[in-house]
Amino acid sequence: MSDELVLEMRSIRKEFPGVVANDDVSFDVRRGEVHALLGENGAGKSTLMNILYGLYRPDAGEIRLNGKPVSFGSASDAIDAGIGMVHQHFMLIPVMTVAENVVLGTEPVKDGFLLDEGAAERRVAEMAKTFKFAVEPGALVEDIGVGQQQRVEIMKALYRNADILILDEPTAVLTPQESSDLFEILRTLRREGISIIFISHKLNEVLEIADRITVLRRGKTIETVPREGATEESLARAMVGREVLLRVDKQPAEAGDVLLSVQDLHVRDDRGIEKVRGVSLEVRAGEIVGMAGVDGNGQTELIEALTGLRRAESGRIEVGGRELHHASTRDVLDAGLGHIPEDRQRRGLVLEFSLAENVALHDYALPPDSKWGWLFPKRLVERARRLIEEFDVRGGGPFTPAGALSGGNQQKLVAAREISRDPKALIAAQPTRGLDVGAIEYLHRRLVTERDEGRAILLVSLELDEILSLSDRILVIYEGKIVGEHTGEVSEEQIGFEMVGVQRKAPAA
């Protein structure tokens, strides 16, 4: 590693409607270093990298490449300038070979017009040898593992002569063994003089691989430190911060009967990977149990299994004492489980439906909404009107399409529907994601009110603040398992560590 700066980003600002994603962010990269960009979800890491890669234009600030100011209008400008990006979602064509994927767009040709597969494979094989990739050039991408697919993405960038490589949360999709293989490759690349920007929120990884670490929090640069001297504790403090935005006034919980109980649940995702690996939990009447965890640690699959949207491999689920074995969504609803889904636009609402129709999404087939299959729209409208008032949904009446409401009001509508069904237990998944402060406060107060009414509430959130301020009991999920449980006072740092797997030292280290 030299001290020569290959990339400087100065005072970058990027605003989205209602959110400042990057606020005066500065960042630089030296030749042949691994520079980690560390921060929580929503800290602004991806925005910064998308600006560098030409996908977004900054509102203010300057980018210099090898000392010269540059301005990228598109990703191909960035590629031409020697920047490569490995997206979290790979840009690979599964039905083509490794070599084909690597050379696509810049293919070697023989006999004037034929694709020179042989040359392509030789080039890829050479590259694989130089950087110790261990990838078969002739294999189909769909047949190789995720770790190898990631190497193909890296090779695509190298084939185009990238000397700055952005890796967006590269270990999120990898097993620990694959991660340590990746780190080996990154070390090789570093030796070859390639600079790497490593985006992550996992402290142990960052400390293992990075030469320097820049911490972002809420769109701002907090600090840039060399690895030497940095500790997990110091980084976590910088990353999580001390301030807590929201405090909710609430009485101590008076927990009653167990209304939601899960025992040894195992769930696989669409690709057949086991994402929930033996979760057991109980939620009692009158308490809010918060589930903290980094995105992708099995929360989505757990919720889907609880609500009948995904079939569990094994385990036992009970709602209000009733066992739900391979239950349909309908059965789960009837058993008294409410669910505020994590993606209200995709799942929680039919955006083309009116508010009145959305309010009836679970109960349209029951009296008083309908009788013998005949729907009574007036009753839907009456109910919608009542709920709109009670839950302070603004921006439309019963006949307004749900898609026309703002996010906060959409979420209030979902909450109104779920709560008005008088569920025994309520799952709230990321209930305040992307909402403004007013809506967040409203929903938080409402959840506490419902707790006091005697409902069992399971709050799943990526926002640690939210978990800390609302929960009576906190569970931490990491890699599909509950790794921590806390009642009473607990420090943010402690939970933050558990969320990123600090308690169990990384197996590959």
Partner: protein, 401 residues
């Protein structure tokens, strides 16, 4: 709208995903076809052995294009053998059959398959680039009419061929514009194209010919090959040059799509346009070119209908009557691959040739063989057996970031 191959998850086919099962069923059916004709069952008419044999061949093609090449083609051969043995065994009693099963049946199979081959290959270019082409039928119809008109006015079939292709290409350009730039639903737009072609060709047919073509019109010549012996002269000694051209096209399509950088880029646009875009490929340009090429090619199939040996310089309203759709079916059947589509087109052509020949003495059997391609496609499409892999982005409009 979701792409062709996608849909709800399919627990049935999940279990039967290995295409080998289809191959074994095909071999069994091939044997069954022969078995039906010999004692103790001793079917008198060859209809059933042939029908079962065709199903066996179809399953064989299906298997072969979905990963089990040797087993699949083996199964197809088993089906062919089954048909042959079935015919041999039933032949003895009935003199009538001799008139059906002769070398002209082979010639007719090639003849009837020709427009299907052009259509299937044409559809393949469009769909491999990510644009579903339901409008094949209409583009073929345009080729048929304007080919005839060009030959009539230009005095030679060459002018007809060029005008026919141009008309198909032009209509394809309309589809491309709506599907790519206006991001219309590709199926709705393709469907509209078919109606448009029906109206345009009908209108001008009435305007120029009053609904009836009279007089001599230069037609596409046949290629006479002598000195091959009776069998080959009867079967391939007198085929249209467009039929030979369709054979060449299959090979060319294979080379272009799978052996050149251009083909790699086309397929990339159909599989993952965003990935293609990020490495600097102009997705819109590729799709435009492919859709227009698709129109040019399928129109040749149309020209064959009006100026080939069957049309022989005539045109009737809606002359294609669904051939564009069977071509589409052949393409799907062949799993978007040239060889598979070619085999499926031949099989469907064979079925139609049988239907024509059998018309004289058994309308049931004729109907059976007419329907068979559609039924086979329906069953195949259900994906109960093996997997249909449409290009992943087929049918999805692409919006640049």
């Amino acid at each position: 709208m979701t792409a062709w191959g996608q849909g709800l998850e399919n627990p049935v086919s999940e279990r039967l995903r290995d295409p080998a099962s289809t191959g074994y069923v095909a071999i069994f059916l091939g044997a069954l076809a022969a078995f039906l004709a010999i004692p103790p069952i001793e079917a008198r008419s060859p209809t059933w052995p042939i029908a079962i044999g065709i199903v066996a061949i179809a399953l064989g093609i299906w298997t072969a294009t979905r990963g089990r090449r040797r087993l699949g083609w083996g199964a197809a051969v088993a089906g062919l053998l089954g048909i042959g043995l079935g015919i041999l065994a039933t032949r003895s009693g009935t003199g009538n059959l001799e008139t059906v099963f002769d070398t002209t049946l082979i010639a007719q199979t090639f003849g009837l398959a020709t427009p299907l081959v052009f259509g299937a290959i044409a559809g393949m270019f469009s769909e491999r680039s990510g644009v579903v082409n339901i409008g094949l039928e209409g583009m073929m119809l345009m080729g048929a009419f304007w080919g005839l008109y060009g030959s009539d006015r230009g005095g030679t079939w060459v002018v007809g061929l060029l005008l026919g292709m141009a008309s198909g290409g032009l209509l394809a350009l309309v589809l491309a514009f709506f599907a790519i730039h206006l991001r219309a639903d590709q199926i709705v737009a393709g469907f509209a194209i078919n109606f448009l072609a029906l109206g345009i060709t009908g209108y001008f047919f009435q305007q120029f010919y009053n609904g009836q073509v009279t007089g001599n019109i230069s037609v596409v010549p046949n290629l006479h090959i002598a000195g091959l012996g009776n069998f080959f002269e009867g079967s391939i000694g007198d085929l249209s040059i467009l039929t030979w051209a369709s054979f060449v096209l299959v090979i060319l399509a294979y080379v272009v799509l799978f052996k050149t950088p251009v083909g790699l880029r086309i397929r990339a646009c159909g599989e993952h346009p965003r990935a293609a875009d990020t490495v600097g490929i102009n997705v819109y340009l590729v799709r435009y070119c492919c859709v227009v090429l698709s129109g040019l090619l399928v129109a040749i199939g149309g020209v064959y209908l009006s100026l080939g040996p069957q049309g022989n310089g005539t045109f009737i309203f809606n002359i294609t009557s669904g051939k564009g759709f069977i071509a589409l079916a052949a393409m799907i059947f062949g799993n978007w691959r040239p060889a598979g589509a070619f085999a499926a087109a031949l099989l469907f052509g064979f079925s139609s040739a049988l239907a024509l020949k059998l018309q004289v003495y058994s309308s049931q059997a004729a109907t059976l063989f007419q329907i068979l391609p559609y039924v086979l496609t329906l069953v195949a499409l259900a994906g109960v057996i093996g997997r249909t892999v449409a290009p992943a982005a087929d049918g999805k409009p692409y919006a640049k970031q």
